[in-house]
Each structure stands twice: as structure tokens, then as C-alpha cells.
Amino acid sequence: MTTPRILEVRTKILKQNDETARAMRQQFDRLGLLVVNLVSSPGTGKTSFLLETLRRLRKQGEPVAAIVGDLETDNDARRLAESGAPVRQIMTHGLCHLEADMVAQELADWNLADFHYLFIENVGNLVCPTSWDLGEHVRLALLSVTEGEDKPLKYPGLFNTADVAAITKCDLAEACEFNRDLAMANIASVRPGMTVFETSAKQGTGIDQWLAYLASRRHAECHAG
């Protein structure tokens, strides 16, 4: 038996996923399609936040679409379809996150040139989705006032892969005795300088600032449209 030979590899474990994601992002850029990946724990209100986002963008005359990932059921897709936007559900059947090829498969027969914005609502999970690039331009981390102010300290990995953050359910802040300043300080502690949108999908607050940010990102990232 020979002595084992060491082969230097120096490659990313998720190289294949990253390559698929990069190819998708290049395609999105060419088409002028801004893609957003929403990540949070279950129950943060991703679907309500996204429903309000889709409704407002459609009211502005923007063509939008959404993909939503869940372990089981198409409940979220049906809720989001109330906005009138085309929506598709990916059921992962136990997998805790979406991967780039799942999104690529789902998009294969969509004419992406028809849209200006595509939202991907990830599986509700604060850990696993952080590792998988889905080809998005913007990753939004969501945190609700009902979850407590220390979520950013507990999940620094998520807040450090996200581009921006949103605090949701701000209409419940008082009832939950949510300490807004502490939450903002915790976000700034794990991710100095992070932009945070303070929102309530129910009351419609903070959504306009979020949409203005998306418009500026679309203008900056995409070369068409």
C-alpha cells in the first residue's frame, strides 16, 4: 500500500450551488429583474410583509412575481396569490432551506423578462438558508417584535449574510414591551451600519421606505428595463 497523496483542493463546499446562483444572477441582471431573498424564523410575518410588498408594487404598475418555500403545504402561495401576482410554491418535504437549483427549476418555464421584481420567500429558518446563494441581489433578514430583541445576537451568521434587515409587526411593539433601541443596538453590534426598516404590514408603515430601497437597488444592479 502506498502512502496517501495529499491533493490541495481549496474549493467552496457549495461550489456547484454558487455557480448555478451566479449564472442566474447574470441572467436576472440582463433582464432588469431584481431578485430578493427573504429569510427569517417561522412566524416572523414574512408572508404578510411580502403580500403587502406585492400589492403595493402592483399598484405602482410594477410587474412582480414570487416563489415561496415551505416544508409542506401551499398555504403561503395561496395567500400571496391574493395580491394578483403570479406565485409558485416549492415544497421541500423536510429540507430546511432552498437551494439554487430548486429555484432554477421553478423558473425554467417562466418568461422572466415579464417581471421587474422577483421575491423568494425562503423556508422559515434562521440558520440553514444563510449558506445558500439563490442568485438574489438583495437578502432581507426579518425579525418581528414578538421574537425579542436579542435575535441578532443569537444569529449573527444570518445578519452578516443579509444586505438589509426589517423589523416586522411594529404595531404590536407596545403590547410586547419591545425595546426598539435595544434591538437596533443589537443589530448594529453584530452588523455595524446595517440598514433596518421598521415595518407593520397590518398598518402599512415602513413599506414605502422598503420599496424605495428596492427601486434604488434595481436601478443600481440591473442593466435593462
Partner: protein, 128 residues
Amino acid sequence: MHELSLAMSIVQTATELARQEGAARVVNVTVRIGHLSCVHEEALRHAFTLAREKTPLADSSLTVIPVPVRIWCHTCHAEQELPSMQRFACPSCGNPSGDIRAGQEMEIESISLDDITAETTDDNTPHP
């Protein structure tokens, strides 16, 4: 349990490399895992034992090199290791910095190959 997806990717990449190199077996895989990558080492090790079954990695070991989080301090003009992931600030001067230089790695650094050509083991003879 995203560690199973990671372990399957590791096994897939190592299997392809072993084939390209004409090696029959992978003896060890060394990976670098950053503290910020949200990968649980024990979960990854367990997943690896499942993912390697019936592959050229069946008897392979997994070496995990943990990578601490390092930031660039724009005040000290130096790279600094973070003592805590709850506070992204320079441990020397205290100024906040989110300029991450290390700690998000999920990489295969190297693989050790048993350099017997694949052809010689087509009869599935067990290795000594």
C-alpha cells in the same frame, strides 16, 4: 440539518476529484469551517458518515479546521480576531467594523488519496 446537504456536496466533490486523479480511495478530507458559517461540527461529522457510504470515501476521515472570525479595523489598519460574535468591533480600539476578512468559510482545503489506480481495485478486493 443543512449539514447533510453540505456533507453530500463534500462527498460528491471528493469523489469526482478522486476519479479525475485515478485514485481508488479517499483517505481523508480536510475542510475549513468559519465560526460565522452556522455549521455545527458534530452534525457535519455525523452527516459525513451517512453521505460517504458506498462511495470512494467509505473509510475516509474528516478533518475540520475551525476558522475564527477576523475583521479589518479601519482605525488600527489591522486585521483583528473577534473574541465574540455578538460584538463586531475592534478588540483593541473598540471601533465597530463589519468588514469581515475570515470566519465565513465553508471550504474543502485538501483531500488525501490512496494512490492505487481505480482499475486495480475493480474486483472490490478489500484493502489491507
